[in-house]
C-alpha cells in the first residue's frame, strides 16, 4: 500500500499523478520531450537509457514500463532489453550507446561521478554534445522519477507481461495524452 492515498488499480507513478494534476502535466511534458521529441538519439535509445538507469535504481515499475517502451520501439525485442540490463557491453547495441549507458550509469551513482574520460570515450564513438547532454538529463530525470515512485511506496506489479500494453502506449502514443492513465486490471 502506498504511503499516501491514491486511486486503486493505478500502478507506479500513475497513482500519485492522479492526485496531483498540476505537477503531473509538467512531468508528462518533460517525459515526452526527453524520450520522444526530435533528437539524433532514437526514442528506442532514449527509452533504453531510462530503463537502464531505473534498473540500477532497482525501481520495478520504471524499469519494466520503460523497458517495455524500448522493446516496443524495437519490434518487441524484449530479450535485448533484458540483456542490456544484465550486461550492456555484451548486448547487440551500438558502441556509441554503450558509452552513453556508461555515462548514464555514472549519473545514477552521482552527477560528479561522470569523468572527462567517460565523455571522451562517448565522443570517440561519435556522440555529440547534445547527445551527451540528453543522456545526462534523461539519467538524472529518471533518478527523480524512480525516487518519486519508490518514495511514495506505490503499488508496482512485478509481472513484465502487465507492462506490454503500457509500453505500446508509451512508445506509439506518448506521455501527454490524457487517457493513458486509466486504471489497469490487477494481476
Amino acid at each position: 500500500m502506498a504511503h499516501i492515498q491514491v486511486p486503486e488499480g493505478l500502478p507506479g507513478i500513475l497513482g500519485p499523478m492522479a492526485i496531483s494534476p498540476e505537477s503531473t502535466q509538467a512531468l508528462r511534458v518533460l517525459a515526452d520531450v526527453l524520450l520522444r521529441g526530435p533528437n539524433s538519439l532514437t526514442p528506442a535509445e532514449r527509452e533504453i537509457i531510462a530503463a537502464y538507469v531505473s534498473s540500477r535504481n532497482d525501481c520495478c515499475f520504471c524499469q519494466l514500463s520503460h523497458g517495455a517502451a524500448a522493446a516496443e520501439h524495437l519490434n518487441g525485442n524484449y530479450e535485448l532489453i533484458d540483456q542490456i540490463k544484465l550486461d550492456y557491453n555484451a548486448a547487440e547495441i551500438s558502441d556509441k550507446l554503450k558509452t552513453l549507458l556508461t555515462i548514464a550509469g555514472k549519473v545514477q551513482k552521482g552527477g560528479k561521478q561522470v569523468t572527462t574520460e567517460d565523455v571522451a570515450r562517448a565522443r570517440q564513438q561519435g556522440a555529440t554534445d547534445k547527445e551527451i547532454h540528453d543522456t545526462v538529463l534523461i539519467a538524472a530525470a529518471f533518478c527523480m522519477f524512480n525516487r518519486y515512485v519508490d518514495g511514495l511506496g506505490t503499488w508496482q506489479p512485478t509481472d513484465p507481461e502487465m507492462y506490454r500494453d503500457m509500453g505500446k502506449t508509451m512508445a506509439h502514443v506518448g506521455y501527454v495524452k490524457p487517457d493513458w492513465d486509466k486504471p489497469v486490471e490487477a494481476a
Binding site: Q25, A26, K112, T116, V119, D129, V136, L137
Partner: protein
C-alpha cells in the same frame, strides 16, 4: 569546465538551459509548479526542502540558489 560547451558566464543549470532550450522549458515549468504553485506548503518551505536535498547531494549551485530563493521567501 563543463563536459559540453555552455555559454560563458552562465553558472550551474543556467548554462545547460541556454544550451538546450527545448528541455529547459519543461524543466522550468516543473520547478515553477513544484516550488511556486498554489500549495499548503509555503514557497519558503518548499525551497527549504529543495536546498536541503541539494546540500545532501553536495550540489553547490542548487543548494546555494535555492537557499537564496528560500531566504527571499522568508522561509515561512
Amino acid at each position: 569546465m563543463a563536459h559540453i560547451p555552455t555559454p560563458d558566464g552562465l553558472p550551474g543549470i543556467r548554462g545547460l538551459f541556454a544550451f538546450r532550450p527545448d528541455t529547459a522549458l519543461p524543466l522550468n515549468e516543473l520547478v515553477d509548479v513544484l516550488l511556486c504553485g498554489p500549495n499548503s506548503l509555503t514557497p519558503g518551505e518548499r525551497e527549504l526542502i529543495a536546498t536541503y536535498v541539494s546540500a545532501q547531494n553536495d550540489c553547490y549551485y542548487c543548494q546555494t540558489i535555492h537557499g537564496d530563493c528560500g531566504s527571499a521567501s522568508g522561509w515561512r
